[in-house]
């Protein structure tokens, strides 16, 4: 994804690729290899080309307050391309809803046997202090619910299966 990130009065083009804690981030075309590890609450340990940074991200209108070591930044983040990540497509079959990032389950909205519409909310997760509703990838019947309320889950944790 490509963002315009405004920091310290300048706007930079930031392109992010990767997942699961390993990212390549091109800032104004200069690539940074970023190892990203969430360490509780808003805190993240970043290794950027061998340099260790203790980072915290606090959502604010338009972006984040970012603490990098002893420095305090207000970063406005604007997406320059629409985010559209396809969930499992193709032939009908069981669709697995997994945790897209580490976080805490706030509410479970589905129960086994329930008929759901595509896009219907199944689980509400809290991550980075934000609540995110995770929706059903397809219409069908809920066959498995592994998410439990107040449970802390890692990226990729299987939450719900819809068939």
């Amino acid at each position: 994804m490509i963002f315009d990130a405004a920091v310290d009065g300048q706007t930079h083009r930031v392109e992010v690729t990767g997942s699961k804690g390993r990212y390549t981030v091109a800032v104004d075309g200069r690539p940074l290899e970023v190892d990203w590890r969430e360490v509780g609450g808003p805190f993240v340990s970043l290794l950027v080309g061998g340099r260790s940074h203790h980072v915290a991200l606090e959502p604010r209108p338009g972006g984040y307050r970012v603490l990098v070591d002893n420095h305090d930044f207000a970063v406005d983040v604007l997406e320059t391309t629409r985010d559209a990540v396809l969930a499992p497509r193709g032939p009908a079959g069981p669709a697995r809803l997994v945790a897209p990032m580490p976080g805490r389950i706030v509410r479970v909205l589905a129960e086994p046997g329930q008929e759901v519409e595509a896009g219907q909310g199944l689980v509400v997760m809290e991550a980075m202090k934000m609540e995110n509703e995770l929706r059903s990838p397809r219409a069908g019947r809920v066959v498995e619910v592994h998410a439990r309320e107040l449970q802390t889950v890692e990226t990729g944790f299987l939450l719900v299966v819809v068939e």
């Binding site: 963002f3 970023v34 497509r89």
Partner: protein, 504 residues
Amino acid sequence: MSERIFRKILVANRGEIAVRVIRACREMGIVSVAVFSEADRAARHVRLADEAWPIGPPRAADSYLRIDRVIDAARASGADAVHPGYGFLAENAGFARACEEAGLVFIGPRSQTIALVGEKTSARRLAVAAGLPVVPGTLEPLVDDAAIRREAERIGFPLMLKAAAGGGGKGLRLVASAAELVSAAGRARSEARSAFGDDRVYVEKALVRPRHVEIQVMADHHGNVVHLFERECSIQRRHQKVVEETPSPLLTPDLRARMGMLAVALVRKSGYVNAGTLEFLMDESREPYFLEMNTRLQVEHPVTELVTGVDLVKLQIGIAQGEPLPFAQADLVQRGHAIECRVYAEDPDAGFLPCPGRILALRVPGGPGIRDDSGVEEGDEVPSYYDPLVSKLVAWGEDRASAIARMRRAVREYKVLGIKTTLPFFERVLRHPDFLAGRIDTSFVERLGREKQAEEERPWAVAAAAAAIGALARRRAARTTPGAGPAPSAWRREGRREGMGGRG
């Protein structure tokens, strides 16, 4: 005075100082009683205390400043003694008297001493009687230029001309030299005449770039008085201290001993008991002038504790129990150097505007030589009703340079989210050449604000990268399927591109 042992102490305060006193009580095996306003029901001092009593609505005037309610809580809880902390009722002679009348030991000086010493003009008279220097000047109104010139020559330049009937900065003139005196006097008098209908002025020595140095004293009920050296408190904003240290880089051993003797003299003269602090202003010639006395524990008492090894709060309690001081002046030494930074919930980039709110996340530094006296924990609210002091970060080192280096290290480790704090401001102070050289006076913060300080290299690219990854993760977490409804075709195309390994 006969000794008695306290079983239970009521702490008539909130925030970090209530936590500080409650901790001392616990270490001494004394039951602690907190009081709290409705805004502080779940505050840290309530959580740490053995007992807690409500004393009213959030506004301090309706709770922490209500003598009757605090006394009622002390009686109802069966407390033997009351520790007032600082602020609120700590220097209120009426409160100390109310405690005395209720049969409660007030942990501090007697009520009549608070009245005598706490009031500035009577303290100044007392100081003069005890042989302390006060800012030289005349309080006799001067009616003509000849009298002004005579007084000016006696006091010396630079000096201040002040309207005798004055206030609010009107009729106030700083006079640098004798050459300016006549015209300045004319302007001061005409300004005073138009503002107050009275053109009499008086003369006071002007302290150029004054420094603020204070002396900690302790006195018991048996006539023993000691001083615990000085604290340098020149780093102030809005006349409020933000960074304090001891020893002062300004004092020589001789000057330190002399100021300590002066402080002890005033304490003896006034029959003062328990902890107190004498504030002095110093000019560039290092001449100390008595300013006022604080009849309580100071906010910045931890720096003294770290270099002397004395627990001032426990000592206060011991003295209030009638115990003699456990040491003599000759037993006290300053070991190493200590600095305190006051972490306020304020935005230093917005003129130190208070910034109350909930602390979303908190990481407190530790390791060698670091002490954090905090009134909050993660998840706590910093209410808008009270002083926004969140915590006092204190560093000790073998000498000033290592204490500063250690404090910088600790400030770097300290993370507060949810509110703005003065931590970034300390970054600037702690690497400023004038601070490092000990060239500090009460105008330092103002100068710092005006200066364009050479910025450290800021890792803005890391910040931008972190924000972008955060935004990406957030969007992925909230993503929906394109099948979930009508989606613009461009959106589908982008999605397919990423799905095929393209860079979306």
